[in-house]
């Protein structure tokens, strides 16, 4: 059964999409080269902007409304999810569900009036969970029904946090929402995988102070920080994940990371996520 990781934070611009894309791609490469497993990774983008999908499959990331994620959320009964799934451009074992910006915007307005509105995504992907090792869900920067659907469908939540005072401000609401999902939607098993400091700029004095505060508050739940680098921005502009944008010289030595700091930090994130979800893995 797949490990479903929702990347969530209702504050915009903290690196949710960047993290979702690079984590999904990193896990796909890890499965293929390090674990040597035929297993696959699925990326779901619940943000109507579809930025995550653009990074892994630009040109084939959109679909007609009836063939998009929006149809899975609002149609009753939903169409077969299997017919929608497509393969990412750069990794044969990374799949995604295409989306439609307008349809997703409409779905966001319609979902509140639908029965069982919080569980529609979970039920739509349930038939395929056995066929994937990981499902990564990117979310929009609002605490709405789309985000709730992503939390209900998840087994783990990964929370990117920008180490700034504003970056901390929305955490409490998100934690409350996770608590409510556990209590009211009977998802006691929903875990916080970790808090991921993102867009770290070492030169800023407050960053270390906030990182220390986060370490103290969420001891054992902190993940290694991701620094702001141009590689991440340029990779996204080039419609690639950072591992494809800055690959190592050869994958033969079974390494995710290259000389690029971004690849090293996201490779470390992949390693931490694998350990926290699968335990120590013998390769």
């Amino acid at each position: 059964m797949a490990i479903v990781i929702t990347v969530a934070n209702q504050k915009g611009g903290v690196g949710k999409t960047t993290t979702a894309v690079n984590l999904a791609a990193g896990l796909a490469i890890w499965l293929q080269y390090e674990a040597r497993s035929p297993d696959r990774v699925l990326l779901i983008d619940t943000d109507p902007q579809t930025h995550a999908l653009m990074a892994i499959a630009f040109g084939s990331h959109l679909a007609a409304p009836h063939g998009s994620l929006a149809a899975l959320l609002i149609e009753d009964p939903p169409p077969s999810v299997q017919r929608m799934i497509r393969r990412a451009e750069h990794h044969h074992n990374l799949h995604f569900i295409p989306n439609n910006t307008q349809a997703m915007t409409d779905a966001r307005m319609r979902i509140p009036s639908l029965m069982a509105r919080e569980t529609r995504l979970a039920r739509a992907i349930e038939p395929i969970l056995e066929l994937y090792a990981y499902v990564i869900i990117d979310t929009p920067p609002t605490l709405d029904d789309l985000m709730i659907n992503a939390l209900v469908a998840a087994t783990h939540v990964l929370i990117p946090v920008e180490p700034s005072y504003l970056g901390l401000s929305g955490l409490k609401e998100l934690q409350a929402a996770i608590g409510q999902v556990r209590r009211h939607l009977k998802r006691q098993d929903l875990q916080i995988l970790g808090y991921l400091p993102t867009r770290c700029v070492s030169q800023r004095s407050e960053v270390q102070e906030i990182l220390d505060y986060l370490n103290e508050s969420f001891h054992g739940k902190m993940l290694s920080p991701i620094h702001e680098t141009t590689d991440l921005t340029y990779a996204h502009s080039a419609h690639m994940d950072v591992f494809t944008y800055r690959p190592p010289r050869s994958r033969q030595d079974v390494r995710l990371a290259s000389a690029s700091r971004a690849t090293q930090e996201y490779a470390r994130l992949v390693d931490e996520v694998v350990k926290r979800t699968l335990g120590p893995v013998k390769v």
């Binding site: 696959r40 939903p78 077969s80 017919r83 799934i85 044969h92 074992n93 038939p127 066929l131």
Partner: protein, 387 residues
């Protein structure tokens, strides 16, 4: 003073209009109807989702008891070496030289044509399974004929665009449903029925198909070496609509090798004939089946062959005797007469003759056949008048 029985005053009796007061309410049905409404409200009305898929996103079930695709194409198709349209084109080429395949192709092309005119009435059912390329493919449970009808139409007419077929995803595919559906379309051949019985038995025993097998008949044949599960025969009797003895006779046909099973299936050789073939030595099976196909030998004639084998009469003489043109023609006339005599009523006979006439026209035999039938009728009449 005598006591009078006091009746309690009920003001409601006065206010209820007579028509209502005298109306007897069928409480039992009312309660049942309310119960049904509540149940439906609780479970929700059954809503099926029909989707549309291209044939290239679908795959037939290799172990469907009724085989449709010829063996010569099957292995390459299921190995992914050719797609459904390439398979259809090869099948069309094969049918040019083989009457058995031609009849089947014509039927499927007619079905494909009716989709164009009337639409596809019944959806194809199936489930999504993982494909070899890491994606998903819709594996067909019932409706493989509709699938091939669409593919053959594309190949035959050289269409550029793929058709969209109506499909319904089922929760769990079932051999029972396949067998029932096979009956709706066209009753299977004897070999098809043998495979159905074997498939039902293996399903009941929980024996899954082995997809590494090259020969699918091997899977069905494995039922011969297994004891039928408890309660099997009574359970499949209503599905197969055959007696237990008949089913046991049919399943025995799976002793034939795959090539002969396919041959017998293609030409719909009756069970009685195949049963007699099985009494012959192994090396005679193929010839006997071909003779049954080409010369219309009956089970009695095959049994005669078996007797001749035992009596060690020279085979050549027997073969020559059976192969004479008058014997071949008479066999055909006798089978026609028996088929007509066995039809229960006049309406059925009319229908049968209509169908035969249609077939003669479709096969282009009318020009040659009519004068021959007229001459034969005259000869028979002449002999009858001399008796």
């Amino acid at each position: 003073m005598s006591r009078r029985k006091r009746t309690r005053y009920n003001p409601l009796e006065e206010s209820i209009p007579e028509s209502v007061a005298t109306h007897e309410v069928d409480t039992e049905h009312t309660v049942a109807a309310i119960g049904r409404e509540m149940e439906e409200a609780e479970t929700g009305p059954v809503v099926e989702r029909i989707e549309r898929l291209q044939p290239s996103k679908m795959l037939p079930d290799r172990f469907q008891p009724r085989r449709i695709l010829p063996s010569a194409i099957r292995s390459r198709f299921f190995a992914g070496e050719i797609d459904c349209y390439q398979a259809a084109r090869e099948w069309l080429r094969m049918a040019k030289d083989d009457a058995g395949w031609r009849a089947q192709i014509d039927e499927l092309l007619a079905m494909g044509g009716s989709f164009e005119e009337h639409g596809q009435i019944k959806p194809i059912t199936g489930v999504w399974v993982s494909a070899d390329d890491g994606g998903f493919v819709f594996q067909i449970e019932t409706g493989e004929r509709r699938y091939w009808a669409a593919c053959l139409r594309v190949a035959h007419e050289g269409l550029d665009e793929e058709p969209l077929l109506r499909v319904e995803v089922v929760k769990a595919p079932s051999r029972h449903r396949q067998v029932i559906e096979n009956r709706h379309a066209q009753s299977p051949s004897a070999v098809g029925q043998a495979c159905e019985i074997a498939a039902l038995m293996l399903e009941m025993k929980g024996v899954e198909p082995d997809y590494t097998l090259d020969d699918e008949y091997e899977y069905f044949r494995s039922a011969l070496s297994k004891r039928s599960p408890r309660g099997f025969w009574p359970k499949v009797e209503p599905v197969m609509q055959l007696s237990v003895r008949r089913m046991q006779q049919l399943i025995d046909l799976l002793k034939l090798p795959a090539s002969l099973l396919e041959l017998a299936d293609r030409y719909r050789v009756p069970e009685r004939v195949l049963r007699e073939v099985l009494t012959l030595p192994h090396e005679s099976w193929e010839e006997a089946i071909w003779m049954a196909i080409q010369q219309g030998l009956t089970s009695d004639e095959i049994a005669q062959l078996a007797e001749d084998e035992k009596a060690t009469k020279p085979r050549r003489r027997t073969d020559d005797a059976i192969r004479r043109p008058e014997r071949i023609a008479f066999s055909g006339i006798r089978r026609f007469a028996r088929a007509a005599i066995n039809v229960a009523d006049d309406k059925g006979l009319r229908q049968m003759l209509d169908d035969v006439a249609d077939e003669v026209i479709v096969q282009g035999l009318a020009e040659e056949l009519l004068p021959l039938l007229k001459r034969l009728a005259q000869l028979i009449e002449a002999r009858r008048s001399r008796l």
